[in-house]
C-alpha cells in the first residue's frame, strides 16, 4: 500500500512529463480501439456478406461441380436432403445454375441464370433483402426476374424492362425466353453484380429443360454449431459415409480446399473452402491488425521508456536513500513498475471515455464509403456504410497490449533503479 501511495504521488511530481506520457498512451489506445473495431467490422461484414448473400455456410453439390460446373451434374433428390437438414435445425435452399446470353434492345452480355426457390432462399440467405430497386422473386410471377446491378447498367435495364435470355437446354434444344425485370440487386458480390439473372426454380427448369435435381444446396447452420462440426453433420445427413459425426471431425480431408468426397458422388464444402482467398484474407487481417498495434505501441513504448529513464536519472539519490533505509531492490523495482502501470491505468480510463462516443458512432452509424463506388475485395463488395464491430475481445486486446507494452518499457528503468548502489547513489549530484 505504501509503495502504491508513493508510486501514485511520484507520477504527479513531474506532471508535465507524466501528462505527455499519459496523453500519448491515451491517444494510442483510442486509435487502437477505433481501428480494431473498424477492422473487425470489416471482417464481420465481409464474412456475413459472403455467407448471407452468396455462399451460405456450407454447400452440397455434385462431386467436382465446383471445379467443372456442368448442367448435368446435379444433386439428386435434393428435397429429401433439405427436409433432413431442416429437421436438424439447418436452413437450406436449392440453387440451379446455367450460363447464357442476355439481351435487351441493342445490348447483350453473358449472364448466369440462377434458379431459386423464392421462399426457401429468403429463409436461408439475405439476398431477398438486398434489393436496390423493385421486389424479390415470386413463384406466382415466373416471368419476373431479378438482375445484378452491374448487369442492369450494362444492358440498360430498369424495373419493368424486358430481358431476353438465350442458352442451350439440357436436352440440347435452344433455350430462350423473355422475362421482365421485377427487381435489381444491390452490389453484393462482384460476379453476382456483373452477370446474375435470378429466376424462380420453375422458370429455370422450364427454360433449361431440367426437370429434376439441383446444382447446389446452400445451407446455413444454427449459430451455436461450429463450422467444422456443421460440415461433419451435413455430410452425415447427405449420406456421405466417410465421416464420423460423433467425433465431430471430418475423416477424409483433402489438401487445400479439403473437398469431401462422398461415396455417392456428392461434395460438401464450407464457405472457407469454396472461397479460400476470402477466408485467407480475413484470417490475415488479424496479422495486419497486430502489425499496426505493434507500430503504434512501439512509439508509445519508446516514449514511456524515455520518460521513465529520465525519472530514474532524476531520482538516483532518492533511490539510494530508499535502499539505505531498508527498501529492497525488489520493492524499488515494484514501485517503478507501479508508476508505469498507474499512468497506463489513467490512460485506460481517459482512453475509454474518449473512445466510447466514437466506438458507439462507428458501430451504430458507421463511415459512409458509398462515395468510393463500392470497394471490392476478393470478389466481395464492401457495404456502403462501413460499421465497426465491438466485442469484449475487440476491446480487451488493445487494453491488454497497452499494459503489456508499458510493463515491458518500464522494466529496464525499473531494473536500473533497483540495481543502484546506495553509497554511490547518495553521492550522486
Amino acid at each position: 500500500m505504501m509503495l502504491l501511495k508513493m508510486a501514485w504521488r511520484n507520477v504527479w511530481r513531474n506532471h508535465r512529463r507524466s501528462s505527455i506520457t499519459i496523453v500519448a498512451m491515451t491517444l494510442a489506445l483510442v486509435a487502437e480501439l477505433l481501428y480494431s473495431g473498424l477492422v473487425t467490422g470489416m471482417i464481420h461484414s465481409m464474412e456475413d456478406d459472403a455467407t448471407e448473400f452468396d455462399l451460405g455456410d456450407l454447400q452440397v453439390f455434385h462431386e467436382g461441380y465446383l471445379t467443372r460446373p456442368s448442367l448435368y451434374d446435379v444433386v439428386p433428390d435434393a428435397g429429401t436432403l433439405i427436409g433432413k437438414l431442416e429437421e436438424a435445425g439447418y436452413q437450406a435452399a436449392p440453387r440451379l445454375y446455367a450460363g447464357g446470353l442476355g439481351g435487351s434492345g441493342d445490348m447483350s452480355a453473358g449472364v448466369q441464370m440462377v434458379g431459386i426457390d423464392p421462399v426457401r432462399d429468403a429463409r436461408t440467405l439475405a439476398l431477398s433483402e438486398a434489393m436496390a430497386e423493385g421486389a424479390w422473386l415470386d413463384a406466382a410471377d415466373p416471368s419476373g426476374v431479378v438482375v445484378g446491378r452491374g448487369l442492369a447498367r450494362t444492358l440498360g435495364l430498369d424495373l419493368g424492362s424486358e430481358l431476353l435470355v438465350v442458352s442451350q437446354g439440357a436436352d440440347g434444344s435452344i433455350a430462350n425466353a423473355l422475362y421482365t425485370v421485377r427487381g435489381i440487386l444491390m452490389s453484393v458480390a462482384a460476379s453476382m453484380d456483373r452477370s446474375s439473372v435470378l429466376m424462380t426454380e420453375d422458370a429455370f427448369r422450364e427454360l433449361m429443360v431440367l426437370p429434376e435435381g439441383v446444382h447446389k444446396v446452400i445451407i446455413r447452420r444454427p449459430k451455436d454449431v461450429p463450422l467444422k462440426q456443421a460440415k461433419t453433420q451435413v455430410a452425415a445427413l447427405a449420406g456421405m459415409g466417410a465421416t464420423d459425426p460423433a467425433e465431430g471431425s471430418v475423416a477424409v480431408e483433402g489438401q487445400a480446399a479439403t473437398v469431401e468426397t462422398g461415396t455417392d458422388g456428392l461434395d460438401v464444402m464450407t464457405w472457407e473452402e469454396i472461397n479460400p482467398f476470402l477466408a485467407q484474407m480475413l484470417a490475415g487481417v488479424s496479422g495486419m491488425v497486430a502489425i499496426v498495434y505493434f507500430i503504434v505501441y512501439l512509439a508509445v513504448a519508446i516514449l514511456i521508456l524515455n520518460a521513465m529513464l529520465m525519472a530514474v536519472f532524476e531520482r538516483i539519490k532518492e533511490f539510494g536513500v530508499l535502499k539505505a533505509i531498508g527498501y529492497s531492490p525488489r520493492q524499488v523495482m515494484i514501485m517503478m513498475i507501479l508508476e508505469g502501470l498507474i499512468q497506463a491505468s489513467v490512460a485506460l480510463v481517459a482512453g475509454l471515455l474518449l473512445a466510447a462516443p466514437g466506438m458507439w458512432w462507428l458501430q451504430n452509424r458507421g463511415v459512409d464509403v458509398g462515395a468510393l463506388g463500392g470497394i471490392q475485395m476478393v470478389g466481395m463488395t464492401m457495404p456502403p456504410i462501413w460499421k465497426a464491430h465491438y466485442t469484449w475481445s475487440t476491446v480487451q486486446v488493445p487494453i491488454i497490449m497497452l499494459f503489456v507494452i508499458t510493463f515491458i518499457a518500464v522494466l529496464w528503468p525499473a531494473l536500473r533503479a533497483a540495481r543502484i548502489s546506495p553509497v554511490e547513489a547518495m553521492h550522486h549530484q
Binding site: E318, V321, A324, G326, S328, P329
Partner: protein
C-alpha cells in the same frame, strides 16, 4: 545513559580499498572498533580520513575489502543483498547530512514508511509514529511534506524515521552540517535526550565541535585508522590504534 560492555556493533580489521583509475585508494586501513548499546559516539577527523566509509561499513551499505563487521553478532559480509536490506530496515537507522526524506511523503508517512515495510499493524504504527513525532517536537506538523518544513524540522523527521524501526544503532552522517548553530544545538539536545530516555545508540560522523561537545565518546580517525578513542565521562583515552 551508560553504554553496556557488550558491543552491538564490531569492526574487526576492516580495510576498504577503492580503485580509482589505476590507483588504489585506501579509505580504511584495518579499523577495529566496538560500539556498545547506549553509546553516543562521534567519529571525527579531517576530510578524507574515512569517517563516511566507517559509517557505510557499519550501516551495511558497503562491503569491506578485508575484515568483518558484526552487527549484534551477525557478520554483515555473510548476508545476501535481500538480507542486508532487511538488516538495514530492521536494525539500523540512518540520519543524513541533507536529510534525504522521501519528498512525496508527509512527515508522518516518512516516519511510518519503515514500519509499513516491517509489517507493523496500522494502529500500532500510528501510536508509535505520533509518539516519535512528539518526542522530536513535531506535533502538529505531521501532514507537512518535506518542502514545507525547515531544515531543522526535516532533520527531526529524519531522526524520527531512524528511530521508527527500533534499530540497534542510529548512524548519523554529519547531521548538523546543513543547520545553523541554534538549530544544531536544539537537535543535539534532542538526540542526547533520546539517548538518555530511549536508550538509543547514536554514532555520528562529524567535524562539528558542537557535536563533539555533546558526544560522550569521541573516536578520532586519521588516514583510515582509529587514531584516538575517548570516553568523556571517564575522561580516559582508553584506546589508541594504528597511530601514524
Amino acid at each position: 545513559m551508560t553504554a553496556s560492555t557488550t558491543p552491538i556493533l564490531s569492526m574487526k580489521g576492516v580495510t576498504r580499498v577503492y580503485r580509482q583509475g589505476k590507483v588504489d585508494v585506501h579509505a580504511l586501513r584495518g579499523v577495529d572498533l566496538d560500539i556498545h548499546k547506549g553509546d553516543f559516539a562521534a567519529i571525527w577527523g579531517p576530510s578524507g580520513s574515512g569517517k563516511s566509509t566507517v559509517l557505510n561499513q557499519m550501516g551495511a551499505l558497503d562491503q569491506p575489502t578485508a575484515g568483518t563487521v558484526l552487527l549484534e553478532g551477525t557478520d554483515l559480509g555473510s548476508l545476501s543483498r535481500k538480507a542486508l536490506s532487511a538488516m538495514r530496515r530492521d536494525r539500523i537507522g540512518f540520519v543524513f547530512q541533507s536529510y534525504n526524506l522521501i519528498p512525496v511523503l508527509t512527515a508522518y508517512e516518512n516516519a511510518e514508511s519503515i514500519m509499513a515495510l516491517q509489517g507493523v499493524p496500522v494502529a500500532e504504527r500510528r501510536d508509535r509514529v505520533m509518539g516519535l513525532l512528539e518526542d522530536v517536537g513535531l506535533e502538529g506538523l505531521e501532514d507537512r511534506r518535506p518542502h514545507e518544513l525547515s531544515g531543522g524540522q526535516q532533520q527531526r523527521v529524519a531522526i524520527a524515521r531512524a528511530l521508527a524501526s527500533n534499530p540497534a544503532v542510529i548512524l548519523a552522517d554529519e547531521p548538523t552540517a546543513n543547520l545553523d548553530s541554534v538549530t544544531s544545538e536544539k537537535l543535539l539536545d534532542m538526540m542526547a535526550r533520546l539517548n538518555n530516555e530511549r536508550g538509543a545508540t547514536f554514532v555520528f560522523s562529524t567535524h562539528d565541535p558542537r557535536v563533539m561537545k555533546y558526544a560522550r565518546r569521541v573516536i578520532g580517525l586519521v588516514d583510515g585508522r582509529v587514531d584516538s578513542d575517548v570516553q568523556k565521562e571517564q575522561g580516559v583515552e582508553h584506546k589508541h590504534q594504528s597511530r601514524v
